[in-house]
């Protein structure tokens, strides 16, 4: 399967996202909620992509456990990482929306938002978990177990929270079936744009990791084992290879081993 280059993918992302936002402000009609409703086109796609990203990470984790190929672990890690970042955006935009709509910075009777908060809190623990396990292979394995467990948790949690609160505030999305065509189109374009954004950023980050890893390899080849490379990872991503790492996934995390 021919995968488009990162450059082409990024260009598509920009184009579609720009189109989406243009539609939001110049095409989509106002509804009963007023101008505030425009946040919906940003907040909901971010939430959907974030949650989907967590599930995708779980799938990568399953592949990692089955094959042992560290490439899948890298993909799982980066998927969770980007989904957490998107999650921050979801919570921030959700909070702003709550404040604008109901006057409070947080509302507990918005089941989607609450359920998302819980999922977010869970996935944030992914980082200290990875950081606390020294052995590289074991760390990857346990992280995969976590990603699978947490992935199974997401739908369960959503169900439970939804049941806990009768829907006082009609969820804009539960009335999505009743979204007028123009709003639906705008929403779909924004969703596509955000999804592409997620995919592009994941690819971007995996490429950066791969470059770092190759650099480490190069350094080792030039200097020999006596001079191990400096810490190849940044503080932001604790799961990256340490100076003594020999995990072969470093060779190229963007393409799977044969």
């Amino acid at each position: 399967m021919k995968v488009p280059s990162l450059r082409a993918q990024a260009a598509a992302t920009v184009a579609i996202l720009a189109a989406g936002f243009t539609l939001v402000f110049f095409y989509a009609p106002l509804d009963t909620e007023g101008f505030i409703q425009k946040i919906f086109y940003l907040h909901v796609p971010l939430a959907i992509c974030s949650l989907a990203g967590f599930v995708v990470a779980g799938i990568h984790a399953i592949r990692h456990l089955r094959s042992g190929d560290p490439v899948h672990d890298a993909r799982s890690y980066v998927s969770i990482h980007l989904s957490v970042i998107f999650g921050i955006a979801v919570l921030a935009t959700g909070s702003i929306w709550a404040r604008a709509q109901w006057g409070k910075w947080w509302v507990w009777d918005e089941p989607t938002l609450v359920s998302f908060l819980i999922v977010f809190l869970l996935y944030v623990t992914y980082y200290p978990l990875r950081y606390a396990i020294e052995d590289r292979e074991r760390q990857a394995r346990y992280a995969s177990v976590f990603a699978i467990t947490a992935g199974a948790f997401v739908p369960l949690n959503f169900l439970a929270v939804r049941l806990a609160d009768p829907l006082i505030h009609p969820r804009t999305f539960s009335s999505a079936g009743g979204l007028p065509g123009s709003m639906l189109l705008t929403f779909v374009v924004c969703l596509a744009g955000i999804a592409l954004l997620w995919l592009s950023l994941v690819r971007f980050e995996l490429t950066a990791k791969s470059a770092s890893a190759k650099l480490a390899r190069l350094r080792r080849a030039l200097e020999g084992e006596a001079h191990p490379p400096p810490l190849a990872g940044s503080r932001i991503a604790p799961g990256l290879p340490s100076r003594t790492a020999s995990a072969s996934w470093m060779n190229d995390p963007t393409t799977p081993r044969s």
């Binding site: 402000f25 101008f35 946040i39 921050i88 955006a89 702003i96 400096p230 940044s234």
Partner: protein, 61 residues
């Protein structure tokens, strides 16, 4: 009609989109820092390789 009311609602909507853009830009900035480090190391290794090459190409493996 792209009415952009600069009343209360407008500020919140703007805030939400600003947060989104800010997050993306922060991410880009961090990746830029990573890229810079990769660039620097690559330069160092290139120097090292040239050194070895001109120094008779003796490997210390």
């Amino acid at each position: 009609m792209p009415a952009l009311p600069l009343d209360e609602a407008g500020k919140y909507v703007a805030a939400a989109y600003v947060v989104f853009v800010a997050l993306i830009l922060v991410y880009v900035a961090i990746m830029a820092a990573k890229l810079e480090r990769i660039q620097r190391e690559l330069g160092e290794l290139a120097d090292l390789a040239e050194q070895k090459h001109s120094g008779g190409g003796v490997s210390d493996v």
